[in-house]
């Protein structure tokens, strides 16, 4: 009911998100606002757009890391970079980029492989707030230690410290990394594809979706990929149990890299 109302009023379609997760997040949201019932929350949300923003922020989980699951990036380097090297203009879509850590990771990786100049990374997310953060390219200093470890594990060939400078709170990525990144608002649930991509990365996003929505998203990805384009999913995600199992060929099972089969 609440989600229906939200959809009607604000156009955010959370109706097909995974139920259990939604449940937890909404109760958490309500609890934080000291609201006892969902219907009360619904009433408040409909009249207070600010709350809606909060709800979107609560519902969209923005957990991310740079070089998250380093082996993914390592395998990416080994298996996908050779393919990308053949392509004159590379288009990569980072769906659900959150605060952009993985996008910058990808930019760094491409930079190190000498492909960044001919690449465009489209980084999209439903959450405007995190997109704004992503555009700033700032990362809290505390996290940088872990990120440096990840970078090294992911097979980084230069120095991670080359890519940022730090002030007392944040590490700020050098602006050359942002040059070929396009940050944009995009809702996987309602919006259509906007280009054809050689690689789509959508990690730990569809775990929040239910089966129908997953199907839709897979279809969207399938249609948005070039012939023999690649799809990268999160470590716990899978094409199993979807009708797209046969449409993608497994490139690396462990790291959930798939190749479109035509």
């Amino acid at each position: 009911m609440l989600l229906e109302a939200v959809f009607r009023q604000y156009g955010y379609d959370f109706r097909d998100y995974a139920y259990s997760s939604l449940n937890r997040r909404i109760s958490y949201f309500a609890q934080r606002l000291n609201i006892a019932t969902i219907s009360e929350l619904q009433g408040k949300i409909l009249y207070e757009p600010k709350l809606m923003e909060g709800l979107v922020n609560t519902l969209s989980i923005t957990v991310t890391e740079m070089f998250r699951d380093p082996s993914f990036f390592e395998v990416f380097r080994k298996k996908i970079i050779p393919y990308l090297k053949e392509i004159p203009h590379i288009r990569i879509w980072h769906a659900g980029c959150s605060s952009g850590e993985e996008v910058y990771s990808m930019a760094i990786l491409l930079h190190e492989e000498g492909l960044y100049e001919k690449s465009i990374i489209y980084a999209t997310d439903i959450n405007e707030k995190v997109l704004k953060e992503a555009k700033e390219g700032k990362v809290p200093l505390k996290k940088m230690q872990q990120y440096t470890k990840n970078y090294i594990e992911a097979g980084g060939i230069k120095e991670f410290s080359k890519y940022y400078c730090a002030n007392e709170k944040c590490a700020i990525f050098h602006s050359f990394l942002q040059k070929n990144i396009v940050f944009a608002h995009h809702n996987l649930v309602t919006d259509q594809s906007f280009n054809e991509f050689h690689m789509i990365i959508c990690r730990n996003v569809i775990i929040y979706f239910n089966e129908q929505l997953k199907e839709r998203v897979f279809q969207l990805f399938y249609e948005s990929l070039t012939e023999d384009g690649y799809l990268g999913l999160g470590s716990k995600e899978s094409l199993i149990c979807s009708s797209y199992t046969d449409q993608f060929q497994e490139v690396d099972v462990q790291n959930k890299l798939f190749k479109k089969v035509t």
Partner: protein
Amino acid sequence: MKLKTKLFIGLGAVLVVLLLLSVNVIYTLNNKNQNMNVIVDNYYEGVRLSQLLKNNTLNTARLSRDLLLMESTEVKESYVDTIREEHESTIHTLEILLNLNVNDPEVFEVVNELQYLLTNYYQIVEDTILHIKAGDFETGKFHLLDDSLEMRYRIVDRLDHLTMLEEASMDRALENSIASYQYTTVFFLIIAITCFIFVLVIIVTLTRSISKSINNVCNVMKNIPHDSFEALPRMQITKDEFGEVATTYNEMVGALEKFSANEKQYRKVLEEENWLKTKYGEIAIKVQRSQQLESFGQLFMANIAPMVEATCGIFYFKGDKQNSYSKIASYADNGDKDLGKESFRIGEGLIGQCALNHEVILLEKVPEDYIDIKSGLGSATPTSLIIIPIEFDGEVIGVIELAKFTSYTPMQRRLLEQVCNSIGPNLNRITNHMEIARLLSESQTLTEELQTQSEELQQQQEELRTINDELHEENRRTEEKTKELEIIQGDLEQKNREILLSSKYKSEFLANMSHELRTPLNSMLILSQILAENDQGNLTRKQIEYAETIHSSGNDLLNLINDILDLAKIESGKVQVYPEQLQLSDIKAFVERQFSPVSKYKGLDFNIIFEKNIPTTIFTDDQRLKQILKNLLSNAFKFTNNGSITLRVEPGTEETNSKIIFSVTDTGIGIDKEKQEVIFEAFSQVDGTTSRKYGGTGLGLSISRELSQLLGGYVTVESIEGHGSTFSLYLPDYENNINEDAGLLVAATEEEQLLMDDDLTNIFQVSSVQNSDLYTEDLNEDLENKHVLIVDDDMRNVFALTSALERQNMNVIFAENGIEAIEILNSNKVDIVLMDIMMPEMDGYEAMVKIRQSDQLKDLPIIALTAKAMKNDREKCITAGATDYISKPVDMDQLLSLIKVWVQK
């Protein structure tokens, strides 16, 4: 006649002929041989013997003559012996001759004559010998020569005659032999020719007879058709061996015909089997890939029904339900999905019965309106119905019912049964597969759920951390502000535990300041006072005035300092509240005592009004209350030049949260509405001119307000410019749990304001301005006072790094090699290590490995300084235990960023 007999007779005859011929030849030859033998044995022997006799006679004659002639007795003896031997030989030979020629009278006679002669002869010889022995050679000679000579001639003559006779006989025998040979030859020829003809006849007859029989057999065999083995030609049975062949052949043909018939039957069976298998295979292949029960059912029905020409059918499946079978698929239903019942319990109806019995149920002649099968053109009732169970593991897991217009052929039934038998495992596989798929998807869902939960948790954690950080930030800001306050008001610090240290500095500072300021000030006051007194009378009037001015200004300054110290003490919480039960009458007395003189001096009315219903006591700090009242009243007197000052004491109300209200009302210059808030700020007065006009530090109201808050109350102001003001102090009973922090916080903000207005501020601002983005120029808190250990043997590097890091207020220690570094680490507190790789004694790798072996230093950030060219070094560094690396020559900005990252805790 049998072939064997024929062959025996024919070849036997030949053999007999050959035998006869041979016998004949042998006989003839034998005959010849005998003839020859006779010739040789008799005649030749006769000739030889006669010759021998002749010889002997002659010999004897010679010997006897010799005997006569010889004189030696010895030799005579030997001669005599030889003559006697000759004699015996002759007798013997004569006997043989007699024996030989018994059959021939002529010869016999001759021989007898010879015998007689010879006997006589030898008699003579003997006589002679005797004579000789007797030495009567002459008689002997005579005897011999006379008597024997004639005899000898006759003997020889007879002997020649004998020889002649014998030779004649020989000739005759030879002639006989030749005649016999010629006869034999002719006879043999005749017989040979006869035999040849005879044998020839036999061969021809035999050959003909055999080839005829063989031809018969051949012809029959040639007539056997090659393509089929039905109705094969038979052979006539004759009495010979071919008859046997024919019999055997006929038997064989019979067997062949039988075999062919069998084969045909087998083929038919095989074809049927094949059909079964093919159809079965088709179904198996078609349903093989389906993984869903419904699609499997539909597919199965859609395939099986046409195969058995069924026109409609239903598939029931047991599934998870116990004892109940529900429809999962149908064939040619009526479109409205209502073909047949939805489900059957076990034992219910024929379906249930079938499931119960595990047996096929076949119904023929179904009643007319049993069920309709519809097509576009019409509808009809099928006549046959078959219900087949599908079993798996001895359990009926499904039932199929199929209806058609004609009866089920045995083949169709078999197909159905076979297929139904075999899809059991298939169905089971599908259910298992579905179960597995379900479990898989469940597990996937669970995995994802887990991930979402973990991320959510992470997010919440993140949020908590953010909140925490914000709090920290808030704290930090407070701290910052407190630090700013430190400069002026050290006392404030003690209340805030987190800024205890700076507070100490502040109090020290304040103490120092008051001391440092008061000491010269005191001297100044004393000296100026001494000057003004002009004890020596050597100052001009003007000079005395100056000295008095210096003195009063100094006093003002002292007051100001005291006020500042007061305020600082209050705000830093150093002012202790000592509450007690206070008699209001004491207050009244105090006020009168203090201000009556002033009012008289300034010519103002001073009214003290105590309402009647006020409590008599209040629990509060006497001294502080008096100080507030004193401040308020001094202000009132200060700003009022004519009119009156009124102190009114009223009972407090619930709304104002007070027990007693003290109001000081004056008729002075009043305060502009806009400025009413500002006046409570320290050093504030209504305008810049006021201070000049009225003097004072502007701290009175601030102190009053702080004190009132300290006591749990507050001060308000109401005023009309030019008409006067009313300051009211609302005071409750003092309670211990008054929120001191809140008061402090308010105080802090105000203090900040105070500082902003103060020229002094700039001097002490060093550590407060930190928000510049130019981080490199900036002294960074993160780096300040951090201990960095530089391990490098190149002094230039060490120097460059040290100077750069010290500029960031970092404490730099350095070690020339790994060993030294470890020693330092063991004894000093180090926050981060910069480790060069190429070093003497112990290089960076080894050092890092050694460092990591210590438990305490496991998490110590170590930044490896690598040479740019060597890419492998980085990996080696990380393996050796480096936390991060940076290549030389080191870019300072990068290094500082890096250090900032790694000194984070």
